[in-house]
Amino acid sequence: MVGVRKDFPPPVRGPAARALDAVTLRIPAGEVVGLVGPNGSGKSTLLKIILGLLAPSAGTCRVFGVPSERVEARRGVGYLPEAPDFCPQLTGYELVSYHARLGAVPARALRVAVESALDRVGITAAMHRRVGTYSLGMRQRLGLAQALVTDPRLLVLDEPVSGVDPVGAEEFCRLVGRFKAEGRTVLFSSHLLPQVERVCDRVVLLNGGRLVLNRSVAELAGRSGAMALLVDPLPVFRLEELRAWLGTRGAALHAVEPSRANLERVFLEAVGRAAVEGS
């Protein structure tokens, strides 16, 4: 993507709204890239330009070397829009099968591809139920299944964990890890910075339509040079021993905080235990 600008015409009169301004970005194959930024910063517009759903007002965008507005650029791309919804009268299997056929999955491999995609996102048991009976999280997973069913090289995910419970978000992180291990390129936008930091190789920050940061997570993490040391709860005299030991090695203990239960961890443990007991 080189020098991409996107202006939206005003509804009546007045100046055009500039959603993206001179954005130049290259996403290396096999990387997991997180796109972050405040609301209205141009994240979804950028993703839509990559997918050829919007035409840039200026600049060029190429996917796998093909201009993004051409149909050929979308071969090998899977896309999950923000808060997807589906026709409630159709079943999950019917919907994913339809998207597989649109993505030119051969008829002889259709059944296996659909069942495999549904299995990866964990809704095999509900695949013959109508989508109207699915929860919000299940619809999100169904959206992911339709993106995965064509076995894409590039996955573009717009706010994939918005409206998803912590268990779903945790599963999403695991899935992204698996995509990375399989050599797929993943580009996703999110407001959840801890998750972006956890699963991404690179972070791209947009603000007011401008690209303000494009760094690897390792680079960003190493910026302050500080390291945090987490230990199991210690009695006070052990803490003094630790302080003295660090001192002998030229390090200082700057802060000691009491151990607090992490709400997310408590939630995951409780829900995970309930799920195990339920099964």
Binding site: R74, V77, Y79, P81, F86, Y98, H99, L102
Partner: protein, 278 residues
Amino acid sequence: MKAREVAIARIWLIAGHSFRKAVRQRLPRLLLVMLGASWAAALVLRDFRLGSSEIRFLLDAGFGAEAMFGAILAVVATAQLFFGETERRTVLMVLAKPVRRAEFILGQFGGVLLLLLAFCGAATALLSGLLWWRLGAMPGAAAGAPGAGPLVVFGDVVLCGVVQWLRLGVLAAVTLLVACYARSSLFAIMVGFAVLVIGHLHHLARDFYELAGSTWTAAGARLLSTALPDFQLFNVADRVAAGEPLPGGLLVGIACYALAYMGVFSALAVFCFQRREL
């Protein structure tokens, strides 16, 4: 496979999917039930037929109800299908795959045409069944009066259903064009019904201005009547109800007229949709 064959296969796939979605919604079933109810009412009220024969009364009521409920289905289902895709963002998932916008719109239109075909087919079959039953209840009625033709020519009833389908197809194409430009389904539905009313009446305005208006108003009226389809041309039900035969030339002319308007309106819909910011 050649690119054109692939494109046709994708249009067919989208049409089949759209048809499946539409047919599982409540609207077509509700309209079929209402159609049946209106025919049942016609049966109950057949004693108030003001001198015409019972069969003619049933044919009039049957074709009239089919035209009305079919028009509702054509306008509302087209708008619902299109805005269902845009509001649920499924259109983004479809177009993020190697699918052209033109294929998407033509597939949507194909799905509506299949839905309307199913509706007209079911309505024609039900009406034929109803007429068959009433003819059976009137000894000697099937043969008609001596020297005259039969009271009902079932082949013409079927042809009337085909003409009805073509008329609804043109109306659906107009609605799809408006939907591709509009931002709300309500607007598309209202404009669709407005075009339906204008399409039934504008020949009166054209005739009036050609006789009484200035050259400019006559030209304006002629332009309007060319731009919008004349739905009165599809009115062959009166002939069938009157027991008159349907000439083949008339049917071919109607089919060509309908296909031309469907082609132009769907091409314009593709043009609008290609410029639409999603």
